[in-house]
């Protein structure tokens, strides 16, 4: 089962500004488990790429927050799509593009693990 996880950065990831509760270790673990992982943020695309490069992580995608639909089109063979973030703009973008949505506080609990466990 191919599941796509889209991470907002600021307020969501631990190295965001402000820092969020989703750790990079959680992200690495998701990648290792075969999730399709990338970022969808209001940060410039080049800034997102630099962030991932600084972590020695090659994301499957980077996108601006309003471009979740493009991400979905790029990975149209995935079975499920989830975005997580800390703003109403995150929630709106997820709903508009038929993504599941987790608030940053929910994402800290790695709810994607349940998706695998229940598979």
């Amino acid at each position: 089962m191919a599941i796509l996880l889209s991470f907002d950065i600021d307020g969501t990831l631990e190295l965001g500004d402000p820092p969020g509760g989703v750790t990079i270790d959680m992200v690495r673990k998701a990648i290792d488990m075969g999730f399709i992982v990338g970022s969808c943020s209001d940060r410039p695309l080049s800034s997102q790429r630099r962030m991932w490069a600084s972590l020695d992580i090659e994301p499957d995608f980077v996108a601006s927050k309003h471009q979740l639909g493009l991400v979905r089109a790029q990975f149209d063979d995935a079975d499920a799509y989830y975005h997580m973030g800390d703003r109403d703009t995150d929630e709106s973008a997820a709903k508009e593009n038929d993504f599941g949505f987790w608030w940053h506080t929910e994402a800290e609990l790695e709810p994607w693990l349940e998706l695998v466990n229940s598979d």
Binding site: D17, P44, S46, R50
Partner: protein, 431 residues
């Protein structure tokens, strides 16, 4: 505290400023750090702490001691209309309990607080009612010219706190706001004006990219820039073109990023500056303007009319012509503002509707048209002070890697809004 003085030069004909060339910028200082926001806890990173740091740096820059300062003119909250920082952020919240329940020194920095905290024994004149930094320098220049004080400390705090800028917690709106507020504060209006501009002159939002990208590049060369300190990588055309719309025709990358920083300037007489450390930058003029839209929302016609009036007023007050201006720094708090100021002032011969052609030409630092050589707010964060410091340093020849290759003897800077602006003219010469 002095307040009620008629200092603004906002009634035409303004005439040549009576203190033209007799008042100078003699020093500048900035807080070492530019933060994204104040955390509400760290007392060494409040606006007050940063203003003190900046004031000390400015006095060092000018080569003066606390005993030399006899005036303080500040904008306590750094906001237009004397508003405090806290009143502009939402949701509103209390800060500290009594007896520490004053915002003074935290998100609001009055002249009296500065005088007390910095032990400035000879201050005779204080004024905390300046507005944004252009008006503030104009006010200080006027009070020094009018001999209300001789060596004036001019701190400018500009901060950011948790919450969302101009988020309005109210559930109702009255008057014209009932039509515009549902679309967001200010933002939809600026997108609307830009859309009118694009339709009128046959251009589009993508043609803003060269300007915003160049501003980011310039800003990375300013050590106090938020981006230089925290996000030093290049900002690209791809980045700009992929920005999320905040309102139609206004991208998130047209909006400056609020930050937390302090700056301070020394304004004094040309005579007194002879004993100071830096080459003085002569203030040729200050002029101000304030307008209200003719209808519910600001239109392109309003915007062009207002900026035309301000530009003519500035030229009349300084005696300059467009071709006299070497360094030009028009505000960009929304990046779309700059084109209105540029076209009104006619810098480099740019006429109405030609700004985007101008941006497409060579606007690099080392080229012939280095507009906003300091990087503006887009390249430095929402401090606004680069619009004073960069022209000052360009004229003094100490802008370092930002130093333009063109002649830098006369500068004009203008901000904050097309509807509420002040223009300052600087020169390496009093004449």
């Amino acid at each position: 505290m002095a307040r009620a003085i008629h200092w603004e030069r906002n009634e035409d004909p303004v005439g040549i400023w009576e203190h033209r060339g007799k008042v100078v910028l003699a020093g500048a200082g900035h807080s070492k750090n530019t933060d994204r926001r104040w955390d509400g806890v760290s007392m060494d990173r409040t606006l007050g702490a940063y203003v003190i740091e900046a004031a000390r740096a400015a006095m060092d820059d000018a080569g003066i001691s606390p005993e030399d300062v006899d005036g303080i003119v500040t904008s306590a909250g750094g906001q237009p209309a004397h508003m405090s920082l806290g009143s502009q952020w939402g949701p509103l919240r209390p800060f500290f309990d009594a007896p520490y329940d004053s915002e003074d020194g935290l998100t609001y920095v009055t002249a009296e607080w500065i005088q007390k905290q910095m032990n400035l024994p000879n201050v005779q004149y204080t004024n905390s009612h300046g507005e944004t930094v252009w008006n503030l320098i104009g006010l200080a220049a006027q009070v020094v010219g009018d001999s209300r004080c001789e060596v004036c400390l001019v701190p400018y705090p500009n901060g950011n706190i948790e919450g969302r800028y101009h988020q309005n917690p109210s559930l109702e709106a009255r008057g014209g706001a009932q039509w515009s507020n549902p679309w967001g504060w200010g933002l939809s209006g600026q997108g609307f004006v830009f859309d009118q501009y694009a339709r009128k002159y046959g251009t589009n939002h993508e043609r803003m990219a060269p300007f915003v990208v160049q501003e980011h590049a310039n800003g990375l060369l300013w050590p106090y820039s938020y981006y230089a300190q925290h996000e030093p990588g290049p900002f690209t055309t791809e980045d700009y073109l992929n920005g999320r719309w905040i309102a139609r025709d206004l991208s998130i990358f047209d909006c400056d990023r609020p930050v937390q920083a302090g700056a301070c300037y020394i304004v004094t007489t040309a005579e007194r500056a002879k004993d100071m450390k830096q080459q003085p930058v002569y203030i040729l003029d200050h002029t101000e303007s304030a307008f209200t839209p003719r209808s519910l929302v600001q239109t392109l016609d309003d915007t062009e009319s207002w900026t035309d009036i301000q530009a003519k007023r500035s030229y009349a007050g300084s005696g300059l012509r467009p071709e006299d201006i070497d360094v030009f720094a028009p505000y960009d708090g929304f990046a779309v503002f700059t084109q209105y100021f540029l076209e009104a002032f006619g810098w480099r011969g740019v006429k109405r509707g030609e700004a985007h052609d101008f941006y497409a030409d060579d606007i690099t630092l080392k080229g012939p048209n280095p507009i906003n050589s300091g990087g503006g707010n887009m390249g430095t964060g929402r401090m606004r002070t680069v619009f004073i410091t960069d022209p000052m340093e360009q004229l003094q020849g100490r802008a370092g890697d930002r130093q333009v290759d063109i002649k830098a003897e006369v500068a004009v800077t203008i901000g904050v809004l097309p509807s509420n602006a002040a223009a300052l003219a600087f020169s390496t010469s009093p004449d």
